[in-house]
């Protein structure tokens, strides 16, 4: 491998980080290729790199290995991929109902591009000075890259392959279904079983004397964007809940997300109160919040965190919304967290893409980065979550969190605060539960925010809210490298399949829709795949210190752009420290040595036994186990 690793294999490296998560799905075979030894083959970040078959087989593969129920739609020869890093590459383009597959022609230099159609945000016919008779298309992708292709115009007037891609990439706009409904892979694990709400609440010791489980939303009648199972203060009857619901936007009443195992302080989420311009009040809502406060004997205060900037919260009053006045809610303190709305975030990501893709300008990197405000937003979200975690942990105070509708910024804040507070969510399965619970069942509108299979790329409802959350998690893993059971590759895989439409996990907008669509029956869960290949997603440095609360430093000094995600297409930036890799090698070495030592011991014992009883006292001291600390 090393030999062919030279100049020409950049291509396969270039594409491999996608393959790392996508292609590996196709075959559960393939061990790690030798090239992962190579620092810059991108495997350091994802040492788990799996490639289709043996990596050397790339050259022989004309077509992609198809997934179950994936079918070839069109194959076109003589297409040029205009790579921003390597120049022009001629090859064959294959389109299936799931992916776009491009392979270089020359046998001796493997280059493969393997893109799930789901990541394509829009397809544009590009103008510009091309050689005569050529047409070119730009595929703008959701995962921070653009792909540019060109091919000869067909003289017989046949439509371009990209017209086909346009149909296949946006099935929803063409009254078709995304590929997830067809994908038929069977995994040993069933990811749909990962989250069992009652088991999760039971883990937290719920219900208890202060909190009861209500079935009022059994048929999504109270709130169609909430899950069936809700935890509410024990002394508030269902009748009152209905009245509270009328005072909360989209009927999203305050419900429990997390409870502190010792202090009983709780994290409660909801939507904004419908205060309106006239400062409407609701006795039921006031009573309800008082009940939340009373459920925690440790504190006589309640903190209400409004994720929005106060200006926006005030502006919402004119539309019937608003925020809790401290006059109406006694003992409650309202704090604004200044996190901006989905439109600001979308714009920020757009700017970020401009700065990082395809090439990074040689000078002014830092001020260019700053001008995108991306990290500033990350800082504000983390700062908000930190304040929440601090109030719950150190202040032993219950908190209520909302933004406008309580499904974007609120989900970010509750899930991040819970990640800081509860070590369970820092495990692979715990994190899956966290996403299922705080994001999926509580109605983060994935379909609208991502726009799966929808050609309407300029939809104002699209926004990288979930990406921001994963970015924040990555920042936490950077600051606490031993606190998370999963690795960076796990996070990247989640983001890749957020767009790929291979799994059903991130489809639809709410639990109700998912049930209606029968997603659990018709599609495969992302967690099925991940939990069946767990080895690849584990952080070798993980130390389980579950009772340890993480307080990240939310200063720009410690926040970093996630190069491994946002700039991963740029081959120059593949230089991450291979610490995890080194660590794994050391682990192997230790195992090997341990074995050798044991062998020697046995040998010694047998030898000393045979050569009379000289000194049976060679008590080879057992090896000290790894010091766990913190």
């Amino acid at each position: 491998m090393e030999k062919s690793e030279s100049s020409e294999s950049l291509g396969s490296k270039l594409s491999s980080s996608r393959q790392a998560s996508i292609d590996s799905l196709s075959s559960s075979s393939t061990s790690r290729s030798d090239r992962s030894f190579h620092l810059r083959s991108n495997t350091c970040k994802s040492p788990e790199l799996r490639v289709l078959g043996d990596s050397n087989n790339w050259a022989d593969l004309e077509e992609p290995q198809l997934l179950p129920n994936e079918s070839l739609k069109e194959t076109v020869k003589d297409v040029t991929y205009i790579c921003p890093f390597m120049g022009m590459i001629r090859g064959t383009l294959t389109v299936t109902n799931y992916r776009l597959f491009f392979k270089r022609v020359e046998k001796d230099s493997a280059f493969v591009l393997d893109v799930p159609l789901g990541v394509i945000s829009r397809i544009e016919k590009a103008g510009g000075a091309l050689s005569r008779g050529e047409v070119s298309y730009v595929l703008v992708c959701k995962d921070i890259r653009n792909l540019k292709f060109a091919h000869k115009q067909d003289t017989q007037g046949r439509t371009s392959v990209f017209e086909t891609v346009m149909k296949l990439a946006f099935p929803v706009s063409h009254n078709l279904q995304v590929f997830a409904y067809e994908y038929g892979q069977i995994y040993p694990e069933n990811g749909w079983k990962v989250y069992d709400p009652s088991a999760e609440y039971k883990r937290m010791g719920l219900p208890n004397e202060s909190w009861r489980m209500t079935r009022i939303n059994e048929h999504y009648e109270l709130c169609d964007t909430y899950p069936v199972m809700l935890l509410v203060p024990a002394n508030i009857p269902d009748e009152d809940l209905k009245r509270v619901a009328t005072f909360r936007a989209k009927n999203r009443i305050p419900v429990l997300s997390w409870i502190h195992p010792e202090s009983q302080a709780t994290v409660v989420r909801c939507s904004q109160p419908m205060v309106g311009a006239n400062g409407k009040r609701s006795k039921d809502d006031e009573k309800y919040l008082q009940a939340i406060m009373d459920a925690n004997a440790q504190s006589h205060k309640l903190f209400i965190f409004d994720a929005r900037p106060s200006v926006n919260a005030v502006a919402n009053k004119t539309k019937g919304g608003g925020f809790e006045s401290e006059d109406a809610y006694q003992n409650a303190e309202l704090v604004f967290l200044d996190i901006h709305n989905i439109h600001v975030m979308r714009e920020s990501l757009r700017k970020l893409k401009e700065v990082v893709y395809p090439n990074i300008e040689e000078s002014h990197w830092l001020s260019n980065l700053e001008s995108t405000h991306w990290l500033e937003h990350i800082k504000l979200i983390l700062a908000g979550a930190l304040r929440i975690a601090d109030k719950v942990e150190s202040g032993k105070t219950s908190v209520v969190i909302h933004c406008s509708d309580g499904w974007d910024r609120t989900a970010q804040l509750t899930s991040l605060a819970m990640l800081m507070l509860d070590g369970h969510y820092r495990t692979v399965r715990g994190f899956q539960v966290l996403i299922e619970k705080e994001w999926l069942t509580f109605g983060h509108r994935f379909q609208m925010r991502i726009g799966h299979g929808d050609k309407n790329h300029s939809d104002a409802d699209r926004s990288p809210v979930f990406l921001q959350f994963i970015d924040c998690v990555w920042q936490l893993t950077r600051q606490f490298p031993a606190a998370f059971e999963f690795n960076e590759f796990f996070l990247i895989t989640i983001l890749d399949h957020l767009y790929s439409c291979l799994f059903g996990t991130f489809l639809c907008n709410s639990e109700q829709q998912r049930i209606k669509e029968g997603l659990q029956k018709k599609t495969v869960s992302l967690w099925s795949y991940i939990n069946s290949h767990l080895e690849e997603f584990l952080n070798p440095l993980y130390v389980n210190y579950s009772h340890h609360v993480l307080y990240p430093v939310v200063s720009m000094r410690h926040l970093e752009l996630w190069v491994g995600y946002y700039i991963r297409w740029n081959p120059r930036m593949r230089l991450q420290e291979p610490i995890h890799h080194c660590y794994k090698e050391l682990l192997l070495k230790r195992a090997e040595l341990k074995k050798k030592v044991e062998e020697l011991q046995r040998e010694l014992i047998s030898r000393s036994a045979s050569s009379s009883s000289e000194r049976a006292a060679s008590p080879t001291r057992s090896v000290t186990p790894v010091q766990t600390f913190v």
């Binding site: 600001v344 980065l369 410690h558 930036m573 060679s618």
Partner: protein
Amino acid sequence: MLSLGSGGGKAAKPSFISYVTPEEIKIKDGEISRKQKQPDLQPGEVIFCSAYPVLKCEGPQRGVYGTLCCTNFKISFISEESLSEETAPPLSNKLLGENDIALSCVDQIYGVRDEKKKLIIGGQVKNKYPPKLLIYCKDFRVFQFCLSYAKEEEAKKIFQGIVHHSLEPKSLKCAFAFSYCEEVLSPEVSKKIPATVMFESKDNWKLELNRTRSSCKVAHVNENYVVSERLPQYFAVPFAVSDEDIRKFKGQGVPLWCWSHSNGSALFKMSALPNVQDDGTSQVYQMFVDRMTNAVCQNQMYPVKTQDFSSGFLPLADLQQSYNKFKQFFLIDNTAEFWLSDVKWFSSIENTGWLEKIQECLNKATEIVLSLEEENSCVLMIEEDCSDLCCLFSSLVQVMLDPYYRTTPGFQSLIQKEWVVGGHSFLDRCNHLYQKEKESQSPLFLLFLECVWQLLQQHAPAFQFSETYLTVVSDSVHIPLFSTFLFNSQHQRDTATKLEYPDSQRHSLMIPSVWDWSLQFDWKVQALFTNPLYVEKPKQDKALRKPYRPKHQRQFSLPNSSSKPSPRKSFFKEETDNLKKMLSGMRIGKWINATEMQLSATRQFYESWQRKPLDYHGLILPCLDGPAIKIWLQRYLRWIPEAQIFGGGSVLTMKKVSDLAAEIEDLKNEMEKMAHNMHAGNTKKLFFSSFHAPTRLSSSFPFASLRTWSTRPVIPTSIVQSLGSVSNLAEKEDEDTEGVEVF
């Protein structure tokens, strides 16, 4: 620990004391002398003045009383409370405690009166003294001392003493090393460190020439500095350079050998001959330089490229200015300031230009490596005195090319060879004597360490030493006890240490070298200098350096030596331009935006290197793209409480890896023991896993102790938003479309 309850609003004294009431100081006059503690003194150290009680403030709500004194070595605060061993920082220094500041480590002093900070300038101190003193150190510690409880006379004296001894010019003989060495008779100190090659003897140079298989020779014409005071006594030159040539212009214009590549190319440096108006002289000079360059050519059988640093590349004053701006962002004495500077953090850092300077340096070094490695040509660096940028680039290039210089002894030998013996003017550049004319001050050596740090963070397994080691080296520059960083030249050192009346045993003072780390740190502490990620060279490979392996050059062929018409006249700039033109024609199609693809030669070099299999015992190159250049957080943030990640930070990873490495080492020993059926020696290698941290680790490990810092989270204050430009979006509603569901 005195915890000074919040508020404490009783008739507070002006300025600082808003939270301390006089009643809280429970000291009766009689007790003062009893409670006053003495600092630990080094041999030859004398106390100039002291004051008691002085309050050292630790954060807004805490403080500790003690004695503040000033000696000929340091400013020292002796706390009334006895510090338990457990809370001392892991990296405890034997010479300087955590409340000691070496006099030459003082960067700036501020007087604080009525909440106003005023910079104190040496020589302008009058009878008045400020109630509160703020001392910024060159190693980024910040101390706050409140003088208002001490007797007026004492407070005045200590203030004037500190200012006088740390902010006013002094003579070289006042450097503490001299008083110390008069007391300590240990002529063997420098011999304790055999692994580091000092390059003070002929043999050292010979061995180095052999090691690199160089055909240069050692010149000893400058023994006893008879030819030049700037040159060391021994150095290496091309074979064809005669002693006469060296004498001719006192060593100027002579190519001095730095390092030889296994492919036959080599790196040289040269002091430029002065620019003269007189045509005749100028011609003589030119002819001489031509002949000398030819000598290099003949010696190496390769063409020579010239790198001329005398023409304003990276001006030293700019470096100083840029670093001055940069460091200010890390000398922070209160939380408000911390969060305020967080707002425009990235652009503020960029505006200092310091990271850009690092980038420029690494780029230039890569350029030189490119010539040596790929183009098979020699590089001759020319600079006025060849002791500033020449030192920087020569050593940087060697770190990148030669794995030996990435081991700890190798790195120390390199600093000896290129910086210490190479004649870098540490005394002037670091301004140890606090000379008023600061033009000669410039953080060149620090810049070198910064560049090495960048390489280390990009290619950790290639280095035997850790980030902590580099930080400690950078701190040691400001301890005026070591000969290494104290002098402008070897000649100056030898003259200054000569004893006027030599006693029977000694002819000169033996000032210790910094490489004798046991003077500063216990051997256990020194374990922190080892990089657990270091990939050791496989043992069977006996050759010191890898034989040259031909490089794969299929993608594009780089100009090779034979195509160069006139090697002597070929200047580097033109070369790169040609190369650039050539390269840009190769792969870049007409469809690609031309400006996007204007890759420099070094970029191309990096990319082609990147495609080859990585060998940690071969060449390493830095990635120079913006996101790859980082701030040396350990050095700059270690003392700032707000920036500490408790239970986190990269140190945790290191700790885990160290644990494992130590375990493996244990197993190996075990095996050895069993194999020989006897008790083998102890572990030779030591990793910092031997520190069973009593408290939780933090990202400040191993520097600051956590004792005084609260482990509560730091909630940002004053998050000033700079998001004005997006206000039209910000005002928009999140959910302005009710959303027709798609499914």
